[in-house]
């Protein structure tokens, strides 16, 4: 594990909600450059809302989000994406009727230089050989696991400085869950900064450097992943057996 120093993302006392329903009630969170941080918690704890608030899909009602030193709390979602903060949402959002290649090209839409686009496409194909093999096929006809690879590949085409991954293993067979997590691990080792929301807490804590446990819109607990994993009470109370 490297010793990351610089803070890339910082949430300060973030509150957010949908209408009158408060989803986040004062979240403080930090992600250092090069780190993998995981966000854990039961369904409805506010994990997805936290990611959406960071990427601008949901507006914070209070507090600040800082990315690379700049306040992005009120910045529109597409502008946040342009700065290199890329959200891979739950449900993958593979575009139906478009080929795998066209789906990947969407990720590089804001990349002006064609050489960079080609290089990234090669990198993504090297990381996910199955996408290369099926590049001309309809992206929505891929299996669930392959679609997840496509969604992550599309985000990589963008050249992200920070990757927000929302439950990449959701709905996948156990074997694929492990496979997906290994890919996430490889990305992290290659230097990508990642904020990971994951239902499989055990697995997430094995990969991540640091973890936060959310409960009804609050940060209930936080610490080094290894420490959280070792704490039996946490495992039982929040992470499930």
């Amino acid at each position: 594990m490297s010793a990351p120093t610089e803070t890339l993302l910082e949430l300060e006392n973030i509150t957010a909600g949908y209408g009158r329903i408060v989803a986040l009630n004062g979240i403080d969170l930090k992600v250092q450059t090069g780190a993998m941080v995981t966000l854990l918690g039961a369904n409805g704890a506010g994990k997805t809302t936290t990611l959406k608030t960071i990427s601008g899909l949901v507006r914070a009602s209070g507090g600040t989000v800082r990315f690379a030193g700049e306040d992005i709390t009120q910045t529109p979602a597409h502008e946040i994406a342009r700065r290199g903060l890329v959200h891979v949402p739950e449900g993958r959002h593979v575009l139906r009727g478009l080929s795998v290649r066209e789906n990947l090209e969407l990720g590089a839409f804001t990349v002006k230089d064609p050489a960079t686009r080609r290089k990234r496409m090669d990198e993504v194909f090297a990381l996910f050989p199955v996408l290369a093999k099926r590049q001309h096929g309809d992206g929505s006809l891929l299996s669930g696991g392959e679609q997840q690879m496509l969604a992550i590949g599309r985000a990589l085409m963008h050249g992200p400085r920070l990757l927000l991954l929302d439950e990449p293993s959701m709905g996948l067979a156990p074997k694929l869950v492990i496979e997906t997590m290994q890919i996430v691990k490889r990305l992290s080792e290659a230097g990508t900064t990642i904020l990971l929301v994951e239902q499989n807490a055990r697995l997430a804590l094995k990969l991540a450097h640091y973890g936060y446990v959310l409960e009804s819109g609050h940060i209930r607990m936080q610490g080094e992943a290894a420490t959280l994993r070792a704490d039996k009470s946490i495992v039982q109370a929040y992470l499930g057996e």
Partner: protein
């Protein structure tokens, strides 16, 4: 579903997958359009002129509906904006027709931005309702304002001169609309393959994914709206000088629906399909004229059948 039934047509179209064949087909169609009036006579020429007007309108609406995936039920409003801008400026203020064209384009752009900015944040079904309202507002305004001539509209609009040539016979106007339609096709093709065209493609498929990858979806949709408005406005401008008279009833909800029908019938987003749709919408009622009152019934049943058996339009989806 009903794919085998239409395979013969699909296969014929697939013959034109090679670019040179497509250009050749385009050239043949243009040549046929150029000689059509000579062999068909004045009545058919007027009908064909109308069909070409619908080609331009439908290609314009296709930018909004087909490319960007926004449902617009009030497209005739932009058609009206162009027609009335030209009508008022030439008739009331005595400006030359060609000088009024930039004003018509400008007015359409302003109308597109005014109606688009607040509404394009809405989901598409709400957008449909708002555009429907917008269409009616424009028609009622035209009907109730003095400058637009109220319910009787504006008549006596001067036919234009082009380099000393007075465009005033139906044949001459036919050729003007041939040129307009060709320009509309070329602009449509170029738009489709532009960076903006790709942004539309992504926004149409998944707005959230597009936004998450850095595409300013509101601006991209607004661009579609404004470009569609310009197509509509230019059509309206030439429509006004062709007829010499305009009235609010030319820009009714029914008009918007007919244009939308041309787009959906031929196949949203597919240029040859949209052109075919425009011709069907104009020519089918004419060809069925002998049937008297039954022709509308037959036309409607035909539309229903096409939509049932070919929901994505007559034109085949191109396999990439």
């Amino acid at each position: 579903m009903a794919q085998p039934r239409s395979n013969a047509f699909n296969n014929i179209i697939a013959q034109f997958d090679e670019p040179w064949k497509r250009y050749a087909a385009f050239a043949v169609i243009v040549a046929l359009l150029l000689i059509a009036p000579i062999s068909l006579g004045p009545y058919a020429t007027v009908i064909l002129t109308n069909a070409l007007l619908y080609v331009v309108l439908a290609l314009g609406l296709n930018v909004v509906v087909g490319y960007a995936g926004l449902l617009d039920l009030g497209y005739a409003a932009f058609f009206a904006v162009g027609a009335y801008t030209v009508g008022i400026l030439t008739h009331t203020f005595g400006l030359d027709f060609w000088l009024t064209l930039p004003f018509a384009v400008g007015a359409a752009m302003i109308a597109g931005v005014i109606i688009g900015t607040p509404t394009l944040r809405l989901r598409s079904d709400y957008l449909a309702i708002v555009t429907l309202g917008f269409g009616e507002i424009v028609r009622f305004s035209a009907r109730n304002m003095e400058i637009t001539g109220g319910a009787s509209g504006i008549s006596g609009i001067q036919q234009p001169w082009l380099f000393g040539w007075h465009i005033n016979t139906p044949f001459e106007f036919y050729y003007v609309f041939v040129v307009l339609a060709i320009i509309a096709v070329i602009v449509s093709v170029r738009l489709q393959h532009s960076r903006l065209g790709r942004a539309w493609l992504y926004v149409r498929h998944d707005e959230d994914a597009a936004e998450a990858m850095g595409i300013d979806t509101v601006r991209v949709k607004l661009a579609a709206y404004v470009i569609g408005a310009i197509f509509g406005s230019i059509s309206g401008a030439f429509f006004a000088v062709n007829l010499g008279a305009i009235s609010p009833e030319s820009f009714s909800f029914q008009q918007s629906v007919l244009i939308l029908m041309a787009v959906i019938l031929g196949g949203m987003g597919k240029i040859p399909g949209v052109i075919l749709g425009a011709f069907i919408v104009v020519l089918a009622p004419e060809l069925l004229r002998d049937l008297g009152e039954y022709r509308l019934l037959l036309f409607a049943v035909g539309l229903l059948l096409i939509m049932l058996f070919r929901p994505s339009g007559i034109w085949p989806v191109r396999g990439k």
